[in-house]
């Protein structure tokens, strides 16, 4: 196919501008994390006066990064793994069976996706506090409480995506297994789950990433020992004497694994999302 010269020019210009827009914060994050403190205290410098790795070392002292990291890892892993397990069972039912209430269930799941988080936050806060008063079960400020609230957004998403993914696995596979004398549950465990592994992993990681960035619930329902990275770093950047080079180093450190994970998985995600949206 021929491309006129103007088209190539437009392409170069537009893509360059969009690329610069996309990459500018990454450039700032990367360079600032390698700058000595005076460089980030005065007017902005495009290039560090000299390169230093000390922000990456000092940040562990300045910011309680290890605690935040531990909290985020635990809360996000448990919330996403639990969501995926529960969602997988439900998704199999929705994908393979026509049963009473299927429509209602699907619509409920989909519609909770559009609810503002604050709608759940206030009652959950009240419920947690009163539960603790009445029964001594303490969810407010605990990781367990945060995990439960995180499932408010990871679970519906996981169900939705996994239904879409299971729909792409040919039913002939389950049927062949059932003909072989395995029950539907056997077919599910021996045939469908293995075939769905890529989708399961992608959904799990995406749920993990979403939880990793969550701020609304974490800003209210955590205390100093359970604070997650998202609110911990945000708090540090707005409340304290700011060592921007260290904040940038910390931001970079907690971003790299997430970005790599996302880029590796984006194919699965797009397939799942568009499958869900085209329906």
């Amino acid at each position: 196919m021929h491309e006129p010269a103007w088209f190539r020019w437009v392409r170069v210009i537009v893509l360059t501008l969009l690329g610069l827009f996309a990459i500018a914060p990454v450039y700032v994050m990367l360079t600032a994390s390698l700058k000595p403190l005076p460089d980030v205290e005065g007017a902005f410098r495009w290039i560090p006066s000299h390169l230093t790795f000390s922000p990456f070392i000092d940040m562990w002292q300045t910011i309680p990064l290890l605690t935040y990291l531990e909290n985020s890892l635990i809360v996000c892993s448990v919330a996403s793994v639990a969501s995926v397990i529960v969602a997988l069972l439900a998704a199999y039912a929705v994908s393979r069976y026509r049963f009473h209430g299927r429509q209602v269930f699907s619509i409920t799941i989909l519609s909770t996706q559009m609810f503002p988080g604050i709608l759940f936050l206030l009652p959950l806060f009240v419920i947690f506090v009163n539960l603790s008063q009445d029964t001594g079960i303490n969810l407010y400020g605990s990781r367990t409480g945060l995990i439960i609230t995180y499932m408010t957004f990871t679970l519906p998403f996981a169900i939705w995506m996994l239904v879409a993914y299971l729909d792409t696995i040919p039913r002939e596979l389950d049927e062949a297994a059932t003909v072989d004398g395995t029950g539907p549950l056997g077919a599910f465990i021996r045939v469908v789950i293995p075939a769905a592994i890529p989708g399961i992993v992608a959904v799990g990681i995406y749920a993990f990433m979403t939880a990793w960035s969550e701020m609304l619930f974490a800003s209210v329902l955590t205390n100093d020992s359970t604070r997650t990275l998202a609110v911990g770093l945000q708090g540090y950047a707005t409340q304290n004497q700011v060592y921007w080079n260290q904040i940038m180093a910390a931001s970079l450190t907690v971003s790299v694994p997430i970005v790599v994970g996302f880029l590796l998985l984006q194919r699965f995600l797009v397939a799942g999302m568009t499958a869900g949206s085209v329906k």
């Binding site: 893509l15 996309a22 009163n130 945000q234 997430i258 949206s277």
Partner: protein, 322 residues
Amino acid sequence: MVDTIRVEQGVTPSAPSSPPKRRWWRRGSLPYVLLIPAILLELLIHIVPMLAGVGISFLQLTLFYLRNWRAAPFAGFSNYAVAVNFSSATGQALLHSFTVTIIYTLIVLAGAWLFGMAAAVLTQRAFRGRGAVRTLFLIPYALPVFASVITWNFMLQRDTGMVNQLLLSLHLVGSRPFWLIGQDSFWSLVVVQLWRTWPFAFLILTAGLQSIPADLYEAASLDGAGILGQVRHVTLPLIRPVNRVLLLVLFLWTFNDFSVPFTLFGSAPPSQADIISIHIYENSFVSWNFGTGSAMSVLLLLFLLVVTLVYLALGRRGARHA
């Protein structure tokens, strides 16, 4: 026992909708069993809190009752009355915040779609380095919100930020403007949210474009359509179903988003960028009056429901006419 159920029986669309009662629990029980954990969790995390939230909106649930909400006095519709009384300061502030949020959402929506579409169309044809460009475009969406928006916060600092340095060196401004307070804070929010959102539009639109058969373009090309003509006559009409869902999802996400404004401004944003999610949050956790906060959330939910239903209904009618 479950062995006896054959999957195909359950799958068959023509399966009897009300099988004989005696065998019903045996034949159809598996999907329900599989759903039990999800339903229980849904009840626990969504349904019960939501009902509780609606309940709270009818209570005068202030600081002094939060630990024992059963003791809170019943308020009737007074929380709603306060929220929608637009001649009072609270109502005015809510209306202002709502208006700001709508304008911000629409601008971000339009920008994200435009940028995403432009990038998707321009990377549709193979060229050297296309893979790298696509990956680059996804980075804003892949970065954790807090990390990237903290960086934006740094970039938008008046005296030490990159943005003012750039504007000064290009001689676009005489003195350093403020980006995180005052009128311009609105545009800061729009730009940062746009930066964060457009890659998602790009991702979905790229996938949508890939599902358009290449021979349609060839046919259009044979008919004498140039690149712009092909975009207008092939791409845009065929991408419509994707657009329909994409725009709704983007609208809901942007409208409800909390993380970006919260990271950029903290819990007390400038009034020009007083997004509704933050507004309700600030109202609830500064004054500790959960009654009004809940009433506002319920109103917000009703608004979103109406918008979504109207949008879907319009879309369906549009699809039928097309």
